[in-house]
Symmetry: C2
Subunit: 203 residues, 2 copies
């Protein structure tokens, strides 16, 4: 496998699990939401870091962006007009680009498909499933209380769609933004994983 693989997924579709299995199959690193968020936080956008911004010295463009400063350290210039959310997004984008530069890997979530859209060595996958399947998984895998499960699934997906549409200006879940899309609920997680692997081996 000489490709970078991004996986976008509806909540409860098993996209993260499929991504992990694909990474294991090809023996390449796996980066999920949580990891990217943590890495971006550690790179300097956290609120405490903001408080100490004046005391820190850095030449990192990423850090400067996250701090709302230009690369030359002026708080007037550059990205000081950006909201914290936008700074987090930029910090995460930088992490994602760095992961991709290191070589083949699987990256789940965080608009990775959009962030890496100009690279020609990236394959974009989308995983989705019917609502019932996703509700059952939310209950069984994530331990969401049964009575809240439907509204949790719908809200989480709404948040993912909004996040994606806001940052990319594109429509989340539009087939043509991905190279392959699968309904994991219809075919099952195991089959979906195998079909994606078959696809990636031909890619």
């Amino acid at each position: 496998m000489d490709k970078i693989i991004t996986i976008s997924r509806q909540y409860g579709s098993g996209g993260r699990e499929i991504g992990k299995k694909i990474a294991e199959h090809f023996g390449i690193p796996f980066y999920d939401n949580e990891l990217i968020t943590r890495a971006a936080r550690e790179s300097g956008y956290a609120e405490t870091a903001f408080e100490n911004a004046e005391k820190k010295a850095t030449n990192s463009l990423l850090y400067s962006i996250a701090m709302g400063m230009s690369a030359y350290g002026s708080q007037e210039a550059g990205f000081s007009h950006l909201s914290l959310d936008d700074r987090i997004y930029l910090a995460q984008s930088d992490i994602i680009k760095k992961c991709a530069e290191e070589g083949p890997c699987v990256i789940v979530g965080r608009c990775a498909d959009y962030i890496l859209k100009d690279r020609t060595d990236v394959v974009h996958l989308f995983v989705y499933a019917d609502l019932d399947f996703r509700i059952q998984r939310a209950i069984q895998i994530d331990g969401v209380p049964r009575e809240e499960a439907e509204s949790v699934v719908i809200k989480k997906d709404k948040r993912r769609a909004n996040y994606y549409n806001y940052h990319s200006g594109e429509k989340w879940g539009k087939a043509s933004n991905y190279h392959m899309c699968l309904n994991s609920g219809f075919i099952g997680i195991e089959n979906a994983t195998q079909l994606f692997i078959d696809f990636l081996e031909k890619a």
Copy 2:
């Protein structure tokens, strides 16, 4: 194969060719755009048929719909307010439903996925490709003049999207409306066909 398979496709993506190969592989009938349109026309919506509407006697609901009459023959009641386009759509929908009732088959285009959405024995596929790939196919397969190819491809797809969105109230090319979606240009027509067959064999 005990399923009905619908294929929606961008113009130039090879969706029709893939559908034909899938039908051959499983030894099931293949219904394309042209065939459905012709069958619907023959069933009675054509303009000459309209002119002779009064002279004809029929008990067919489809015919009555196409003629803008209720099933009981009154031109006041029923569908007389529908445009010719809407009547054609209804006649085609009826043909598609009849094809599906006859058993496993492949149906390409004409909103078949939407028309059959309430059946549980139907698998919906979507085939798309990058613009360049589709332009090349329009030139090579359909003989579209090179200088017109890009605008022809874009216009044809716009028409397909409008047709689908108008009749279904849904968004054409939204991944979650299909069970599997593939970029045929990225993976090639042969590989795409094989991957769809693998998917269908697991479905």
